[in-house]
Amino acid sequence: MNLNELLPLAVIASSLVPALLIFTLPEESVRLRTALNLFAAITKIILVGALLIGVRGGEDYAFRHTVLPGMDLVFKVDALALLFVSLSAVLWLFTTLYAIGYLEHAPNRSRFFGFFSLCVTATMGIAMAGNLFTFFIFYELLTLATFPLVVHRGTPQAMRGGTIYLAYTLVGGALLLAGIVWLHHLAGHTEFVQGGLGNALHGINPTILQAVFLLLIAGVGVKAAIVPLHGWLPQAMVAPAPVSALLHAVAVVKAGAFGVVRIVYEIYGIEFVQTLGVLLPLAVIAAITILWGSLRALFQDDLKKRLAYSTISQVSYIVLGVALFGPLGTIGGLVHLVHQGIMKITLFFCAGNFAETLGIHKVSEMDGAGRRMPLTTLAFSIGALGMMGAPLTAGAVSKAWLSDGAAAAGMDWAIWVLTASSLLNAAYFLPILYRAWFRPAPDSWPHEEIAARGWRETAWLLLLPPLFTATATIGVGIFADAAFSPLAWAQLIARREYVSLGQ
């Protein structure tokens, strides 16, 4: 087995092995667990770094293992896979740091970190899957590994959130399975190919292909929280903040959006999807989701719920970008996959800080929080401004490319959707910022747990991750043209997808 086969396996192993080890650790061995977690996260980042350099240079990394006759477990590291892999690997490190701080003194940490690593493993598998069969294996593994995290607190609300999460995702998984086996039966295989399966799909009744497309998109649409399949996401916000970060930025909704990308570009092929006439409906559904999520966010007083509806809206930017026929929209959608992750994780980290430090759970309790916790509030503000698409942030880059994509595709209505969404984003984020910065603080906070010491407004490990990701939000906006920026990488992917189309 050579290095190019081994590296994808190593990326999987770098979180799978620690997950299994952590399960066996006794609750008290905090140091060992922390060391193991950080070692694993850093190892993964190094591995991903090596892959980034290799893939940019045109190297192929693939691993293949036959499970059943004609059905292989395939890990393939292409540019698209790496976009998701590097996002998750980097955010995993920050989330791990944050979770160590967040869960200090909480019970059942071995279980928590074990399943957390397992989730990241599943995400890596989803990103590197070389066919739908492999994709499905890890997609369902992600469902199973997130459930214990969602119900981690064991309270009745957590149980309810977990049950609703399962109901949606298991049904989604069943639809996806039906679609995949059907496609496998029709086309003979489900390998991801740049430009789509092409000839294997020609000559098949278009109505059947539309039905299969519907099943597949509905299957991944549950995790991507596309309306009307989004109901689980606001319920799942009962989970601890690091889990919300995982659901909203690192793994779950991203896995769904990523699935849409793979299915549209590398199973059906963007041109074929266009001729099937399902691209426009997809764009319309994405647009509805964008507006619906933003509208609902306006009316949520619970901070995390507001963020959850915001996620529903923002993730469909990715779907919209995919559904805009043309490379500009593709780039906009793909880059938003990364940008939304960085911005949303910042917001959830900050929401967790407000809750853990001051007991603030509601928007109406945010008055004056900026004076008490200026750094957290600053990070929150950067994330929120990014979501609105303010200049010099990650969000501005995404929205610019998406608008250009919509214009190039001749879908001017999509530009209006994006504009309306930006206005709605401002409408539900600005009041929070106003309250935090400009309203006077109340006499006492709802439940102050961590006292301020000097300028250190909360625990180190809670403060540093959001500051890093907030910096990154600005960084990827300002340095969008740098060599390894998400934008440059999205352009690389689009170039490769559309070159293969031309051939």
Binding site: L68, L141, L144, A158, L166, L177, V181, H185
Partner: protein, 482 residues
């Protein structure tokens, strides 16, 4: 072949030997004998599988006597898979039982287990219909004995019900065999295939109907499942595991053999017949799952899950077209369910032992107190739900693929719906386990012996790993003649 080195003969003789020795030995030595014997049997089964993989099917007359005096032993890939599964699962279960029964072993537990395994091994290796009857009877009576060994009034009642079912089942089978012998003057499965193909008088149709129905009764296919939930739900955990994981599979194996072998001419002449087992299978999935969702007691829930999972086995019958998909799907399901269900029953046994409550609600808080056992339960559940990666998933995939291949879309639909229903009853247990119980920190219940937890985990992990390494099993099945 030399009898001394013959794995086929030893697979039958060894369990008979240790069963007999265990009868005269004290309780102290029973488990040791069983474990040593099963290790030997597992080696024999592995050798046999190796042999079959390289030479195709093997068969010969034990003792060197010609038929009808000699007993014809026969093994192909299908038998090899069944034998491996039986020895592997049984070994884990006796390890578990040894610790589970550390206080008091039910009377004759080791002896009955030995006879049960000997009967099953003989069943997998026999090639004539009358010997098969003898093995069926041996398996059935040993199984009834094990259920009754629980000792309580409910167990005795369940055992009597089970006894009735198994006697009626084997009686019907024997009647069929007699009719066949009367028609053709032979009971050799290999000879009968051609004879029935040439001419099938009405008596043979009747015989086939009786034999297959008798086997359905023993396999507890809906609506013949009435005896299973009390028997499997009421027996001690290692016995439940043995019955649910292996024993019902033995009569299914025979049903499949007859269907594809001697009676192939009949079933091919009337293709609509294949819809019958499939329709019953679909009903079993829906009814069994529904009852599992409603069950109040944990082991009854698992027993109804067996009723549902048996249903999958019978969905394959309309799908034997040109390809090998249906057979692969069926045998993968047998294997995956065997491993997963054994794991689930013994995990439940440990949960019940520790919590002291037989109810599903007794699981509350187990995620904290019994993480290893709960993890085993969950992994087994993954396979039962048919979620990847697991043997159950591959079986479901192949089943759906075969259904689409043969144009029976409704079977694909049932398979997918059944997975979701299984999701409901499995997560009904799992989510309870995560519920925080009030007296959480103080007085954590006693930790059970490690072997109770790890045997369950090993079986469950095997059902998961089967989902990644199924090729050896598929290759074994490649040579099975249909």
């Amino acid at each position: 072949m030399n009898l001394i080195l013959d794995p086929l003969a030893w697979l039958i003789l060894l369990p008979l030997l240790w069963a007999t020795l265990a009868f005269v030995a004290t309780d102290r030595y029973g488990p040791r004998l069983a474990i040593a014997g099963l290790v030997g049997q597992l080696l024999c089964a592995a050798m046999l599988a190796q042999d079959v993989a390289s030479h195709g099917s093997i068969g010969h007359l034990a003792g060197g006597w010609a038929e009808p005096l000699g007993i014809r032993l026969f093994a192909d890939g299908l038998s090899a898979v069944m034998l491996l599964l039986t020895q592997g699962v049984a070994l884990a279960l006796v390890l578990y039982a040894r610790s589970y029964f550390s206080q008091a072993t039910p009377p004759a537990f080791w002896t009955l287990t030995g006879f049960l395994i000997a009967g099953m091994n003989a069943l997998f290796l026999s090639g004539d219909l009358f010997n098969l009857y003898v093995t069926l009877e041996l398996v059935g009576l040993a199984a009834v004995g094990l259920v009754a060994a629980g000792g309580g009034a409910a167990q005795i009642a369940a055992a009597l019900r089970y006894l009735l079912a198994t006697l009626v089942g084997s009686g019907a089978y024997l009647f069929g065999v007699a009719l066949i012998y009367g028609s053709y003057g032979t009971v050799s499965a290999s000879l009968l295939g051609q004879l029935i193909n040439a001419e099938a008088p009405i008596a043979v149709w009747l015989a086939a109907g009786l034999m297959l129905t008798g086997l359905l009764l023993k396999t507890a296919l809906f609506p013949f499942h009435f005896w299973l939930p009390p028997a499997h739900g009421g027996a001690p955990a290692p016995v439940s595991a043995l019955l649910s994981a292996l024993v019902v599979k033995a009569s299914f194996y025979l049903f499949l053999r007859l269907w594809l072998g001697p009676f192939a001419a009949l079933t091919e002449a009337q293709p609509w017949l294949a819809q019958l087992p499939a329709a019953l299978g679909a009903s079993a999935i829906l009814w069994g799952s529904w009852q599992a969702i409603r069950a109040d007691r944990l082991k009854v829930l698992i027993a109804y899950s067996t009723v549902a999972q048996i249903g999958y086995l019978f969905l394959i019958f309309p799908l034997f077209g040109t390809g090998a998909l249906a057979l692969q799907a069926g045998i993968l399901q047998v294997t995956a369910h065997g491993l997963a269900k054994a794991a689930m029953f013994i995990a439940a046994g440990t949960l019940i032992k520790v919590s002291g409550s037989e109810r599903v609600l007794g699981v509350a808080g187990a995620a904290v107190h019994l993480p290893v056992t709960l993890f085993a339960f969950a992994l087994a559940g993954v396979s039962l739900m048919g979620l990847p990666p697991s043997g159950g998933f591959l079986a479901k995939w192949l089943l759906i693929d075969a259904a689409l291949d043969q144009g029976h879309e409704w079977i694909a639909g049932i398979a997918i719906a059944g997975g979701l229903l299984a999701g409901i009853y499995v997560f009904r247990v799992l989510r309870l386990a995560f519920r925080v119980t009030i007296a959480d920190d103080e007085a954590a219940p006693l930790r059970p012996a490690a072997v109770l937890e790890w045997t369950a985990l090993a079986l469950a992990a095997a059902s998961i790993l089967l989902g990644l390494f199924a090729m050896p099993l598929i290759n074994l099945l490649a040579g099975v003649t249909r």
